[in-house]
């Protein structure tokens, strides 16, 4: 399963993407400003609420499984020492909290991705950042969201092709090499085909963007986002 937009009528689906982007930015800032267990507990509640309001659940987090080993191993690596006492708990705890913050930001991002069509994200970015930089950023966001799921599917297909011909018995290193080589080849081919498809459909840097409008539900969301951002700034200054 690849994390992507899921049509729906949840509260998050009804929000303007600009509101959701502000909440994300505010949340990320707050997560890096409030590093105490108490602060992270509050942010955990908020992150779960964001995902829930987008109609998501634990299943959406499974798409981040590739990041979990890194987030889990990081505290162990940080705490390890080459000599006595061999392991420093305080260092591991600090890194562990940092890993946890990353996880929380991923949860909020999952809520955004599943509730926001790609073209709405592009429109939000282009309206927030005027001119050619905005067009460039908006197009980049749109292409990343369109290309990554395809790329992931190609890698899975390559892995299945290796397995289907007995490759599952090969050493891990060899399997990784086969999937990587096939995956890179497919990625280049996929990029070519995506480029051709965009050309055939008259891809434009400045297309007609979808209508965006703030509704009643956006004002509380904007307040939450601005509040998080302000709290983060205040904490940093203090």
């Amino acid at each position: 399963m690849t994390l992507s937009y899921v049509p729906g009528d949840s509260l998050a689906h009804r929000l303007d993407p600009r509101s959701k982007l502000l909440v994300q930015v505010g949340f990320a800032a707050a997560a890096y400003a409030y590093t105490t267990p108490r602060g992270l507990a509050a942010l955990t509640f908020l992150a779960v609420a964001c995902l829930w309001l987008a109609g998501g659940g634990p299943r959406d987090l499974w798409t981040y499984r590739a990041a979990f080993p890194v987030l889990l191993v990081a505290p162990l690596v940080a705490g390890a020492t080459l000599g006595a006492p061999w392991f420093r708990v305080e260092r591991a705890a600090t890194t562990g909290l940092a890993s946890y913050r990353v996880l929380l930001i991923l949860v909020v991002a999952a809520g955004y991705v599943r509730s926001t069509p790609v073209r709405d994200s592009r429109a939000a970015v282009q309206r927030a950042v005027p001119g050619k930089p905005g067009q460039f950023l908006g197009t980049g966001v749109a292409l990343v969201f369109r290309f990554l799921p395809l790329l992931k599917r190609d890698l899975l297909t390559a892995r299945e092709a290796v397995r289907s011909r007995g490759g599952g018995t090969l050493p891990v290193r060899e399997r990784m090499r086969l999937v990587a080589v096939a995956g890179i080849n497919r990625a280049f081919g996929r990029a070519d085909r995506l480029g051709t498809a965009l050309n055939a459909r008259c891809f434009a840097w400045n297309p007609t963007l979808p209508r965006l409008a703030f509704g009643p539900a956006d004002y509380p969301a904007l307040a939450v986002g601005a509040g998080l951002l302000a709290a983060a700034v205040a904490m940093t200054i203090v």
Binding site: P117, T196, A197, N199, A200, R201, C202, A204, P207
Partner: protein, 264 residues
């Protein structure tokens, strides 16, 4: 009207020196093809794998630039205005997954009109009309990933129709489709033909579409080997490793398909 004059396309111009390499270097995919497609015509471009069919039709909207010769659409050279050419000649790829770029049906069909800078009302109208034309009205919010192969093909056709092209090119539209999906796409092609849309179908298997065609162009090794009405073409095409109906009877275009055979 699409006019291709002396079109030649080569691949791998560095050249491997194979038997197919000509003096210009590289493999010749399309070799000095001259072809006109009038408005409203239902044309089949037939040929075996590697005969140059796809390369030729991709020159019609500038996705492939000819190494020699010219292609013009509605009197204007394609290279002069690629957006105009791509608006006039809609393209449906062989694998719809290569063509669909959005997560939902409505967003994907709207992608082309958005790029053309249409107003929101115009985009909404085009999306509704295009989806109705492929019998998928009201399914704008469905996820592309949840569609069947036939439905994806129809969404790909809708995406091209939303550009409101003068000509619609479909590259192997029946590949990978089961029988109900084939019938569904055929029904859409019949409807397009009845509506007067110019349709160009690229295929190596004419069993489904020969009865719809006004003309058939057969390619072999990049050259035009057959350019004839369906009845005459049906007699000549088997020599090009192309499947044709066992009995071609000039049946009406909107009639269901007659007996077919796998024999070339």
């Amino acid at each position: 009207m699409i006019d291709a004059t002396g079109v030649t396309c080569r691949y791998g111009r560095s050249g491997s020196g194979g038997s197919d390499a000509d003096d210009g270097g590289g493999l010749v995919a399309v070799d000095d093809v001259t072809l006109s497609v009038p408005d409203g015509e239902f044309l089949i471009v037939a040929g075996a794998n590697g005969s140059g069919k796809t390369t030729l039709v991709r020159t019609f909207n500038g996705l492939v630039e000819p190494d020699a010769g010219t292609v013009s659409v509605n009197g204007a050279p394609v290279s002069d205005d690629l957006v105009a050419a791509r608006t006039a000649v809609g393209m449906v790829f062989q694998d719809p997954r290569d063509q669909l770029v959005a997560a939902t049906v409505g967003a994907d069909v709207a992608f082309g009109p958005e790029n053309l800078g249409c107003s929101h009302a115009e985009i909404d109208r085009r999306v509704a009309d295009a989806l109705a034309a492929v019998n998928m009205a009201g399914r704008e919010d469905e996820r592309i990933a949840s569609l069947s192969g036939g439905e994806r093909e129809r969404v790909a056709i809708a995406g091209a129709l939303a550009m409101e092209p003068d000509h619609l090119v479909l590259d192997e539209p029946f590949t990978g489709l089961d029988e109900p999906a084939r019938r569904s796409v055929l029904d859409r092609l019949r409807a397009l033909r009845a509506a007067g849309t110019s349709v160009i179908v690229v295929t190596h298997d004419l069993r489904d579409v020969l009865g719809l065609a006004d003309r058939v162009v057969g390619l072999s090794a990049g050259r035009v080997a057959v350019d004839a009405a369906p009845r005459e073409a049906a007699e000549k095409l088997p020599g090009l490793d192309v499947r044709v109906p066992a009995a071609f009877d000039d049946r009406p275009a909107d009639a269901p398909a007659a007996g077919e055979t796998d024999d070339p």
